[in-house]
Subunit: 111 residues, 2 copies
DNA sequence: TTTATAGTTCGACTGTATTGGAACAATAGA
DNA sequence: TCTATTGTTCCAATACAGTCGAACTATAAA
């Protein structure tokens, strides 16, 4: 992996809000044993039904974290731009998943 | 690893100069096959003699990279503060090494 | 003791990140 | 068609990061 590319990825993860969003997408927002702890459990909501993909991701993030929609949109863009996540809009449904191969590259980079 | 701690580490590596410095320390400044490429070879200088530890680290970094000493000092502090490197002054000799266990923790964190 | 070298600290400047509000576009549902 | 919901884009405000020069301390060498 290119050094500059790597910097981009580190930058994307070097913000607490974005790192939370990243793990929220990666682990499923309602998971209790995710690395980000209990901060992501949404009260009175059902869990994301599809393993590896979080649906209604945008809405859920907005609900969980006390951030405006424009800010959340910005953070999603940063994560996408770094290649860490992929998002797809399907009607009103916003589906996200983590690009695990990028994470693996990062882990190799640190080897 | 704590989320906030992790953010600190990502922040420290989310800057191209610091990432270069980090690899310079990690791989030995004169190594030709390091991840950071040829940017770190110092012309007409002998290589760091001790594996895993780079001696005269500060001076070498100042020579390699076009940065003032105060800036380099600042970057070293950031890397130390994140726990990524350990530095020790021994007279005029400044010895640095990478804390591999922190790197391993990061790799686990990304698992 | 004087001088040179090494690294730190402080203050200032500049550029970039983070954030929210407002206006907007697209879709879904009534 | 009208309305509510979802996400984007633009703009502005504030905070933070990266950088340097100057003044400083500490050590080594002459």
């Amino acid at each position: 992996m290119e050094l500059s590319n790597c910097v981009k990825i580190f930058k994307a993860l070097a913000n607490e809000q974005r790192l939370k969003i990243f793990f929220m997408i990666r682990k499923g927002c309602c998971s209790t044993e995710d690395k980000a702890g209990s901060a992501f459990r949404i009260k009175n909501k059902t869990c994301c039904p599809v393993a590896g993909v979080i649906e209604k991701a945008f809405t859920k993030v907005c609900e969980c974290m006390n951030l405006s929609r424009s800010t959340v949109s910005h953070h999603f863009k940063e994560l996408q731009n770094a290649g860490l996540i992929s998002c797809q809009r399907d009607g009103q449904m916003y589906r996200c998943k983590v690009n695990e191969e990028v994470i693996n590259s990062m882990r190799d980079f640190l080897k």
